[in-house]
């Protein structure tokens, strides 16, 4: 819907989110007990925007994605909550109905392009299959579309490559094929689960650029799942940080990098290797390990590893689970520390360990915003 220019500036009507996740919970019954993989996760994504979900392995980010896609086995996973895609609730739907949406309205690309393509079928056939399952196309039409998609994702000589087998392509090319396959039906939601983790560093940027470029072309809502904070800054509009099955902080990318508040996010930012630090300096890791998914600690799930729990009066960090609350506009934080305290800790941590490096992290976003955001936290370096 096009709006007149003036109207657009005066009241910025927020567009309807294409995907809204409400209080999503995923539990896996195992022999050792009930594993809570996702615990009350909520977020939404609008078409044309990118949400990054960041967290360590096992924090529940991939399970969240699989739950949205309906790819969790209903027999082994207990999924509850709401997943609204284009005003349809998916968790209540039949498997067959969700299957029809997969690949057409929502698509997903996976971490390892080496193993995510079927080794025995030509890439063209795999692309055509994705197109033909959702639309009435002849074999020739589907093949022509496959070639066109291969060209769009930047595969040279697509007319020849369409008859290649996956093993004849490089890792980056295979991930391009995966992207082409995901986007062949122009889905409005694309979930990319660690799309660059298995790739060469030099190829990573190309793949991210490609996703961004196709996103603006198709006006797609994108969720990027990653553990790499370095790539988040480049691509995401909004970031959700997950820890132990929960979102612990959610904010716009600028806010999250410029003024993070949750001690876990601070820890993540502080442990990024920096080019401008002395090589003899040690990285600043978060002490301890993520909790066992079988038994999350009482109180704040992060408290066993939190350096600042003593600053909270009483035993709240040990006994009371913090809520994900709005600290400022569009900035949600799950922490018992008072907001003022959190901000001063952040200033302290970022000035000593990240320092001027934040400029480099933000460099890719947008010149003006990043420098404006960084200015207040920039250290003496």
């Amino acid at each position: 819907m096009r709006q007149p220019e003036t109207l657009r500036q005066d009241h910025r009507v927020a567009p309807e989110p294409y995907l809204t996740v409400n209080d999503l919970r995923v539990k896996f019954p195992t022999e050792d007990g009930l594993v809570s993989a996702v615990d009350g996760v909520s977020f939404s994504v609008t078409r044309g925007r990118t949400l990054a979900i960041v967290g360590e392995s096992g924090s529940g980010k991939s399970v969240t994605a699989l739950a949205i896609m309906g790819l969790l086995d209903r027999k082994s996973a207990q999924v509850s909550g709401e997943v609204w895609l284009d005003n349809q609730e998916l968790l209540e739907m039949s498997d067959a109905a969700v299957r029809k949406l997969r690949g057409s309205k929502m698509a997903m690309i996976f971490q390892d392009p080496m193993s995510s393509l079927h080794p025995f079928y030509r890439v063209g056939a795999q692309l055509a299959e994705a197109a033909m399952i959702h639309r009435k196309l002849t074999r020739q039409q589907a093949r022509a579309e496959a070639i066109e998609m291969l060209a769009r994702v930047g595969i040279p000589a697509p007319k020849r490559r369409v008859d290649d087998y996956p093993h004849q392509l490089s890792g980056g090319m295979r991930q391009r094929v995966m992207i082409a396959m995901a986007l062949i039906n122009s889905p409005a939601l694309l979930i990319a689960d660690e799309p660059t983790t298995a790739l060469d560093v030099t190829v990573q940027a190309q793949i991210l650029d490609l996703i961004g470029q196709l996103q603006s072309e198709f006006n797609t809502a994108v969720i990027i799942i990653t553990h790499d904070l370095g790539i988040v800054a480049d691509v995401a509009d909004e970031v959700a940080v997950m820890y132990a099955a929960r979102i612990v902080e959610r904010a716009s990318t600028e806010t999250l990098y410029g003024s993070p508040e949750m001690p876990y996010t601070l820890g993540l930012l502080a442990s990024i290797p920096r080019m401008d630090r002395e090589r003899t300096d040690r990285l600043d890791p978060i002490p301890g390990n993520p909790p066992s998914p079988l038994r999350h600690p009482d109180g704040c799930v992060f408290h066993p590893r939190c350096k600042y729990k003593d600053r909270v009066p009483g035993e709240r960090c040990f006994t009371e689970r913090p809520e994900l609350l709005e600290s400022e506009r569009d900035h949600l934080v799950r922490c018992h520390l008072p907001a003022e305290e959190r901000r001063s800790i952040a200033r302290e941590v970022l000035s000593t360990s990240v320092g001027g490096g934040a400029v480099a992290v933000l460099g890719g976003v947008d010149g003006t915003t990043s420098s404006a955001q960084v200015a207040p936290v920039g250290g003496p370096a």
Binding site: R99, F110, S116, F120
Partner: protein, 330 residues
């Protein structure tokens, strides 16, 4: 690819040659003396010597081997220095003086029974094995899976002579559901042929189907964990397509290998099943020849069985390339 096939083919011929060498000299070293066996109880040394000469066992083994090989290509004449020479045309696999027949025609006569037994049994067991293997994998852990795997274990543990005899006694002798087995040519009397073969097929199939159920189940389950299956589901493919087109195709390679070699092995003669159902196949011929120490026949059957397995190996390897494009050599 053509070069690969040529190389494999030449290798196969070399292997077959080495095989004739091994088999021939192996059987020549047996303590059994065919010359002594070919004369009755009251046997004078003179007769044994004469027999030895008739059987051409009085010449050095190397020369015997040469005659054997040249017989394969050009034929040979036995008892050439007597009044009644015996012509054995190429390819001459030898002559059985015990049966007064050349080995090749004995074998040719035994091939149909063995062939139909093996092929029919193969079809039955593959159909049962694949179908129930897939069902079992899809219903993993449920009662269907447990039942199928239980039956498979049972079938796996029953020896074929037991299955064969139980079937024969119950179906034929006790319930009279089928006439007693009598080998006939399938093109002359198809009904009788089927009546005769159904029990042997089941006997052969039970043991093998059990193995293929387990193999198929494990293959499908293993492949189900692979990333490209998740991709196939993420595309929105129906589960049936995911199973048949994506999972089964990927899990097929070991099944094809095993199936090809099992079929080849069976084509060499199913000794027990053929004997239970009185089928005049290679297995029966082999057993009877071993009992009678009829060396030319044993040598020939061993060679043929080994040759079938060598050929089957080549076929299986070529099928690999058809199934898995990564194997194709450019």
């Amino acid at each position: 690819m053509a070069g690969y096939i040529t190389r494999r083919f030449l290798g196969m011929i070399l292997l077959l040659f080495l095989l004739t060498l091994t088999v021939f000299f192996l059987f020549n070293m047996l303590p059994a003396d065919p010359a002594r066996l070919s004369c009755g109880k009251a046997c004078s040394p003179q007769i044994v010597e004469n027999n030895r000469h008739r059987l051409e066992l009085d010449i050095p083994p190397i020369e015997q081997y040469q005659r054997f090989i040249s017989g394969l290509f050009f034929g040979r004449t036995y008892l050439a220095d007597t009044k009644r020479p015996i012509e054995c045309e190429a390819p001459c696999l030898g002559y059985s003086f015990l049966r007064n027949s050349d080995v090749l025609s004995l074998i040719t006569r035994s091939v149909p029974a063995t062939f139909w037994l093996a092929v029919g049994g193969f079809v039955v067991w593959m159909a049962i094995g694949l179908t129930f293997g897939i069902i079992s994998a899809l219903k993993r852990g449920k009662w269907q899976d447990r039942t199928i795997m239980g039956i498979a274990l049972l079938g796996y543990s029953l020896p074929s002579f037991f299955i064969g005899l139980v079937l024969l006694f119950t179906v034929v002798l006790w319930l009279h559901l089928l006439p007693s087995p009598q080998w006939v040519d399938p093109f002359k009397d198809p009904v009788r042929f089927l009546q005769t073969m159904i029990l042997p097929w089941i006997t052969i199939a039970i043991l093998n189907a059990a193995f293929y159920m387990r193999l198929t189940r494990n293959q499908v389950l293993e492949v189900f964990g692979d990333d490209y299956i998740r991709t196939a589901r993420a595309k929105g493919l129906p589960e049936r397509t995911v199973v048949v087109k994506h999972a089964l195709r990927a899990g097929l390679t070991p099944i094809v290998t095993a199936a090809g070699l099992d079929l080849a092995y069976l084509l060499g003669g199913a000794i027990i099943t053929e004997n239970i159902y009185s089928l005049p196949g290679l297995g029966s011929l082999a057993v009877n020849s071993v009992i009678a120490s009829d060396l030319p026949i044993i040598t020939a059957i061993t060679l043929i069985t080994a040759a079938i397995i060598i050929v089957a190996n080549l076929v299986v390897d070529l099928l690999y390339a058809v199934i898995d494009p990564r194997v194709r050599i450019s």
